[in-house]
């Protein structure tokens, strides 16, 4: 399984047009050899979930720079669970306050990346985590 390309869905949900960060991350993941479907900004929760299912994604990456991330992530994680997508590595990034990171993790978000994180660190994180999950998946 692990020789297959890692599939990633990235994008922004709702009313936040700050797309520069997510585009940089998208490109970095592509450059690292992953297959990334970038949905752009202004997406709805359902559209994102649909894309994760259609693409059979290993990773979902969402970016928030304008607030509302707790509410949106609650909705996303609820749908992830309802659709049996727990194997998907969900990561978030952007302007998120320190206190909110543990709350995000309780929801099931695997990791939160803050402004200024080197792209290489994010790529490493995703590669390692996806590999781990694939191993667990193949054992089961």
């Amino acid at each position: 399984m692990s020789n297959e390309k890692t599939k990633v869905v990235t994008g922004k949900i709702g009313t936040d047009g700050h797309y520069r960060g997510i585009e940089a991350v998208t490109r970095a993941l592509r450059d690292a050899g992953m297959e990334v479907v970038y949905l752009g900004a202004g997406r709805r929760v359902e559209e994102v979930i649909k894309a994760v299912i259609q693409e059979d994604a290993d990773v979902l990456g969402l970016s928030f720079l304008c607030g509302g991330h707790m509410q949106t992530m609650k909705k996303v994680m609820t749908r992830i669970k309802e659709k049996d997508l727990d194997h998907v590595l969900v990561i978030a990034g952007g302007i998120i306050y320190d206190d909110e990171i543990p709350e995000m993790k309780v929801l099931g978000v695997a990791e939160v990346f803050l402004p200024g994180t080197p792209l290489a660190d994010m790529v490493d994180y995703v590669s390692v985590e996806v590999e781990k999950r694939k191993k667990i998946g193949s054992k089961e």
Binding site: T15, G40, R44, G67, G68, I95, Y97, P115, A120
Partner: protein
């Protein structure tokens, strides 16, 4: 522990930069030879005179200091009114109103897509009533108001409020920005949205041109809508592209106004771009000086404009929010003051300095106050505003100004050959250029070629870092009561027949593509139609879903 070798290396460290941020090669030393090709009288001239390299006014800040126009906006119209009064008391001299996302996107505050966004990152304004509340008791003729909505609803509500209170709208000073018109289509792939619909420009886009036409004819001191070079810069273009794109957008919009029968000499002074100030000090200053030159020369050359007042570029400068880091946030105060100084030396009419906690959360009152104080240090303590364009004659600055002007002009000509800005955007050329720029610039930060203190140099562990006070308003005191009151008003207190009739009129007007939408929008606003309803009707005219988020049906 730092090694002795490192100490020696640090002592001997030298500047290795041999290009500006936009890639213009620079020498170690500049001499009179570097400006020998510049005709000082013709190419530089005097302040307030063509080609305006040295400034828009003969006296510059000795005639009037720049406006301290910091971006503000929080929670509800009432809370924002209080914050505005506080900041004005602290020395802020002009308003730039930030909106929350539901307002920006024309959503109703109670719909699902607005969840978590109400009163966050800006103030919520959904009707004429809200705008009146926000402006309560403020002397509108003595203020300059600007905002960055996607549509003119807020500006029209502002004008109506002024009329209701008996102010002369001919004296209103303002600046209504609609920068995102020019960005939406670059960031949301495969989706019908605001600028283009079915391959043509949308009715909402036309509304903006209608409002600009109205402003040309009625709001004599209002600087009409104009796209923001700042937003393009935040989308990662460089200094040369920023000015060239701003001029290309101006050209498209000016041609539209001329088509509508407005004299180019009347329309041209309406364009007031908001430009960015990033970290490369001299390049930013040279950029502003070069911008005024190319702005004036292209207006004269391509539009035959003769009135000096119409040829002169006036701009507001936003210190780049994206240059403010989350790491070591207090360092942002230094970044803010340096960029503010560059804006002043470049001749900005107004400046915005972000709050140092920009990359953390909605600015606290303390942080917003420090952003005002930063400008006051430059205004009152530095002595910089004392002399007009004090860098004129510097071999380096004049040489760089000249070089940038040539590069900007070449870029403007390139876009004109592509058929103008809108066409370049529609075909994806703009998106492609921004992407190329983005890759190049992000790469420089990642590789450390472009130092960012606290991010790729002189870093410290996050747990040792300073954490700004978190702005956590008690929503039960402002946002919740606002929402309850708004819903009661919207659902039970309005004259529904009147709202329905005026929205129907707006729909009819919108279908006649030659009619100006402004009077019908005024009528609908006065009848208590909400911003979301007005925008929804205009979306329906284009065959789009009434609600941008697809959650609501047309209620009438």
């Amino acid at each position: 522990m730092v090694s002795n070798k490192e100490i020696t290396d640090m002592y001997r460290e030298k500047s290795t930069e041999d290009t500006t941020a936009s890639g213009i090669p620079v020498k170690e030393v500049y001499t009179p030879e570097d400006i020998a090709h510049i005709n000082t009288e013709k190419d530089v001239g005097l302040p307030g005179q063509y080609p305006f390299v040295r400034g828009h006014h003969p006296l510059m800040y000795r005639g009037k200091l720049w406006n301290i126009r910091n971006i503000t906006g929080l929670s509800t119209p009432k809370a924002y009114n209080e914050r505005l009064r506080y900041l004005i008391e602290q020395g802020m001299t002009a308003i730039e109103c930030e909106l929350d996302n539901p307002t920006f996107y024309g959503l109703e505050p109670d719909q699902e897509a607005a969840d978590g966004h109400l009163g966050v990152c800006g103030t919520c304004l959904h009707s004429l009533k809200d705008v009146e509340e926000m402006l309560k008791g403020l002397p509108l003729e003595a203020l300059s108001f600007s905002s960055a909505p996607a549509t003119p609803d807020l500006s029209q509500a502002y004008v109506l409020t002024a009329m209701k209170h008996g102010f002369d709208i001919g004296k209103l000073r303002g600046l209504a920005l609609i920068p995102h018109f020019y960005l939406f289509n670059t960031c949301v792939p495969d989706q019908e949205h605001i600028t283009f619909v079915h391959g043509r420009t949308s009715t909402i886009f036309r509304w903006s041109n209608d409002f600009l036409e109205y402003a040309c004819r009625n709001l004599f001191k209002w600087n009409g809508w104009y796209s923001s070079g700042y937003d393009l810069r935040e989308a990662f273009c460089d200094a040369v592209q920023e000015i060239a794109y701003s001029i290309a957008i101006r050209n498209d919009t000016l041609r539209e106004m001329i088509k509508r029968g407005i004299d180019a000499n009347v329309a041209a002074p309406k364009f007031m771009p908001v430009l960015s100030v990033e970290q490369d000090f001299f390049e930013e200053i040279a950029k502003f000086r070069a911008a005024r030159k190319v702005w004036a020369e292209t207006l004269q050359r391509d539009f035959g404009i003769t009135d000096p007042n119409a040829l002169c570029l006036r701009f507001h400068a936003n210190v780049a929010g994206s240059s403010f880091t989350r790491q070591q946030p207090l360092v942002n105060l230094m970044r803010g003051s340096l960029s503010c100084l560059a804006g002043v030396l470049g001749g900005a009419l107004g400046i915005q300095v972000p709050s140092y906690d920009e990359a953390w959360a909605t600015p606290s009152e303390d942080a917003a106050t420090l952003a005002v104080r930063t400008q006051q240090i430059v205004r009152y303590e530095s002595g910089v505003p004392r002399v007009v364009d004090p860098l004129a004659g510097s071999y380096y600055v004049e040489s760089l100004t000249h070089e940038m002007a040539q590069r900007i002009e070449a870029e403007v000509d390139k876009i004109e050959k592509l058929g103008g800005w809108l066409e370049a955007m529609r075909t994806g050329w703009v998106k492609n250029e921004l992407e190329k720029s983005q890759i190049a610039r992000q790469g420089k930060i990642e590789s450390g070629e472009r130092p960012v203190i606290g991010v790729n140099r002189f870093t410290i562990p996050p747990e040792e870092d300073f954490k700004p006070k978190r702005y956590t308003p008690d929503t039960s005191k402002d946002v919740d009561p606002y929402l309850a009151e708004y819903l009661e008003w919207r659902d039970t207190k309005r004259d529904r027949e009147k709202v329905k009739r005026t929205l129907g009129n707006l729909h009819t007007t919108a279908e006649k593509t030659k009619d100006n939408l402004v009077p019908s929008v005024f009528e609908a606003l006065e009848a208590d139609a909400t911003f979301a309803e007005i925008r929804g009707v205009l979306r329906m005219v284009d065959g789009l879903e009434y609600d941008w988020a697809g959650e609501r049906e047309y209620p009438f």
